[in-house]
């Protein structure tokens, strides 16, 4: 997209998005504009210079000179960050959402920011076949096992069987040391609803509600892998034309996924100030990823990943992003997810 001409009057370049055109074409009344939001995707607030010696009129000089791109028609490519309405003007801190990497069950793999989703049984591992979540020889206690499979998710039977305790967790609150973590987060900054967006071709969200009691199963030779009951995927709110599925979760109706962060053990917190809420979920690989290599060949590549036993395993992989947005505060975070399929 080109930049808009900003040499004269302020102009407005308005277009329908691809989703807007799609809904218009459906002709079923689903194209109805009901509300608006303001976005500031191009703005880099770090360019706000509160120490400009020329005075306050010059603090935002660089921001106001920011050239603006033409409108994108792809609905998922714009309005990444929205302006926020909070009636109070005396706020100095706003909450953020962070991926929880201190809890071994939700931390990403190694030192990376990646969660690795094992898409089929061969990748997960089963009796007699070592995988990323099942080892053919003993691995010791549960704690040690969890550390070894850190960041690996069971995308074959999410929430059941091996790796059932592995999930993704995002925490919300004021991430500052200047306010005590014991202080309560203001109620208007307390996030009660989350929107999770992900590529519907690759996987689906599995809610934490119905989480099985199965813990990591150390499957030695002749050991037993306990298969739990797959809890089922969460209900998709809608899937747009780019195959991006949106899920809505709220504290009121999805208590198994969203909970008060202040009640969690302090040693597994990543928010250093007042605590808000936390959202936990698992990822189930799509049937296509489980049964086919088509999307891996089209969207991904191959690499080698070290299994918990230390052995190297060749895998096909697809890197994707899961976006978690606080519906109330608008803050969002992109989580990196790698779908892996062992090359057997």
């Amino acid at each position: 997209m080109a930049f808009l001409d900003n040499s004269g009057d302020i102009i407005l370049d308005a277009v329908l998005t691809d989703t807007g055109r799609y809904r218009l074409a459906q002709g079923n009344g689903s194209f109805k504009i009901a509300k608006f939001a303001l976005g500031d995707d191009e703005i880099n607030y770090s360019a706000y210079n509160k120490n400009n010696p020329s005075g306050s009129a010059y603090y935002d000089l660089e921001i106001l000179q920011t050239p603006i791109l033409e409108a994108f028609t792809n609905n998922t490519s714009t309005m990444k960050s929205k302006l926020l309405t909070i009636p109070r003007t005396n706020l100095l801190y706003l909450p953020v959402i962070l991926m929880n990497n201190s809890n071994v069950n939700s931390a990403p793999s190694g030192s990376s920011e990646l969660h690795l989703v094992c898409v089929d049984e061969d990748t997960v591992g089963r009796k007699g076949l070592e995988g990323f979540l099942v080892q053919s020889s003993g691995m010791g206690g549960t704690g040690a096992a969890s550390e070894k499979v850190r960041g690996f998710l069971n995308g074959f039977q999410a929430g059941s069987g091996v790796g059932a305790q592995q999930y993704i967790q995002c925490d919300q609150g004021l991430n500052t040391n200047e306010i005590s973590a014991n202080a309560a987060l203001d109620s208007d900054l307390y996030e009660t609803q989350y929107i999770v967006e992900m590529d519907n071709r690759l996987g689906a969200i599995v809610p934490m509600a119905g989480q099985g009691a199965n813990q990591y199963n150390v499957a030695g030779v002749g050991g037993v892998v306990t298969a739990g009951t797959f809890a089922g995927t969460a209900k998709v709110s809608f899937v747009d034309d780019d195959n991006i599925a949106s899920y809505y979760f709220s504290l009121a109706s999805d208590a198994g996924m969203i909970s008060d962060l202040a009640s969690t053990p302090s040693q597994s917190r990543v928010i250093t100030g007042p605590q808000g809420t936390t959202i936990q979920f698992r990822v189930q690989a799509s049937t296509e990823l489980q049964t086919s290599t088509y999307l891996f060949e089209k969207l991904g590549s191959t690499t080698s990943i070290t299994k918990p036993s230390g052995a190297s395993q060749s895998v096909r992989y697809i890197d994707s992003v899961i976006k978690v947005t606080g519906a109330t505060t608008g803050y969002s975070i992109n989580l990196l997810v790698r779908y892996i399929k062992s090359i057997i």
Binding site: T19, K32, I33, A71, L84, V96, D240
Partner: protein, 378 residues
């Protein structure tokens, strides 16, 4: 409660209709077959921009060799006359007579309609069908592509200039003068007809200024605005007295380039002695230019995005915070400041349906209010 959306109220959305006009100039160089060097089907430009079809019913003019995907269809040309024409009935010596009659009837039934008996009416010179009067019988039809006319041709904007000199020098009158005849829908914005089944139309007349023979502007065709079709009477090309009596003009097919004797080398002779495509070729050779304004009817919905003083003063932009602290504030008493570059219009289920970009960032703080007017055209 913090929120990122603001719901539209009933008085925040209104609709309006505007007419957008574009000037469409079509130069004769394109119509004459600029890309058709020496009549070759392929040349350095990739072929001709004039397309003929196996059925031979009409000819298409493109702005570029039509085999290229860059080519745009400009207009189609064809000719015809009714079975009641003086030219009809000479089937033995007339080329494609049935097709010419069929074409005239097809155009007439769409643009003029039927009489009470179900018979197709002829084109009427002054549009007064009931009173009878002179009929346009031997005609050239110019069917403009919708790409150019859009919703309709703007009334009073149509001008066609055509050379009525010899075939070799069509834009000269043979005595060193100007041989270009200008045909317009003069004053059509205030004087047009509505008795066509195909919409509104007006009378085309050959304006004064061509030469001595047109001291008054005789009617010589019809222009149908919504249909985007110009119907030209062959009378504009004729030398001497036409069978119908008027008007007179200069013959356009008097060159040795055409296979007719000087005694019948007029347009009517072309209508009987040549195929439709050949008649179209002769016409294009004399086309100086065409210009008109098109009209696009824009139905717009205007959304007034009212941003009050206490709205949208904070941002969820990741750079807005440093360790959760707002960058643009030093202490809680400082006013929050935000800047916006985009307006997103959403459905009730939070799907982004339309997006509008400002040409520069706008500052928002509690001391100002604004209304952003977003217009969506359909």
């Amino acid at each position: 409660m913090a929120t990122t959306f603001k719901t539209f109220l009933n008085n925040d959305i209104t609709s309006t209709k505007t007419l957008l006009h574009e000037a469409i100039p079509i130069t004769g160089a394109i119509a004459s077959g600029t890309y058709n060097k020496g009549g070759a089907t392929t040349d350095t430009y990739g072929g001709t921009n004039i397309k003929n079809y196996a059925a031979g019913m009409f000819q298409s003019v493109y702005d570029y060799p039509y085999l290229s995907s860059s080519a745009n269809h400009i207009f189609d040309l064809t000719v015809g006359y009714p079975s009641g024409s003086v030219l009809s009935g000479t089937a033995a010596t007339t080329v494609q007579q049935a097709k010419k009659i069929n074409l005239y009837n097809q155009m007439a039934q769409v643009l003029v309609g039927y009489d009470s008996t179900g018979s197709i009416r002829d084109f009427d010179e002054d549009g007064n069908i009931v009173a009878g009067g002179k009929k346009l019988k031997e005609c050239v039809f110019i069917n403009f592509a919708r790409l150019l006319t859009k919703d309709e041709i703007k009334k009073g904007s149509f001008t066609l200039k055509i050379g009525t000199g010899s075939y070799a020098t069509p834009f000269e009158d043979g005595s060193g003068g100007d041989g270009i005849l200008t045909i317009k829908d003069s004053n059509a914005a205030n004087n047009y007809r509505v008795n066509s089944p195909a919409g509104e139309y007006a009378i085309l007349s050959a304006t004064a200024g061509y030469n001595k023979e047109f001291s008054v502007a005789p009617a010589c065709g019809l222009i149908f605005y919504q249909a985007g079709i110009a119907v030209l009477s062959s009378s504009i090309f004729q030398s001497g007295t036409h069978a119908a009596g008027v008007p007179t003009g200069r013959g356009i097919l008097s060159s040795s380039d055409v296979p007719y004797t000087s005694t019948n080398a007029y347009f009517t002779a072309s209508l009987t002695g040549s195929a439709i495509s050949a008649s179209c070729n002769y016409f294009r050779n004399r086309l100086y230019d065409i210009s008109f304004n098109n009209t696009t009817e824009l139905n717009s919905t205007i959304h007034f995005c009212r941003v009050n003083h206490n709205d949208f003063n904070y941002s969820s932009n990741p750079t807005y915070l440093s360790a959760s602290k707002i960058r643009v504030k030093n202490n809680p008493l400082d006013a929050p400041i935000s800047y916006f570059t985009t307006v997103g219009l959403y459905s009730s289920d939070n799907e982004l349906l339309a997006v509008a970009k400002l040409s520069e960032p706008l500052k928002k703080d509690p001391t100002n209010e604004m209304t952003v007017r977003v217009r969506l055209d359909y």
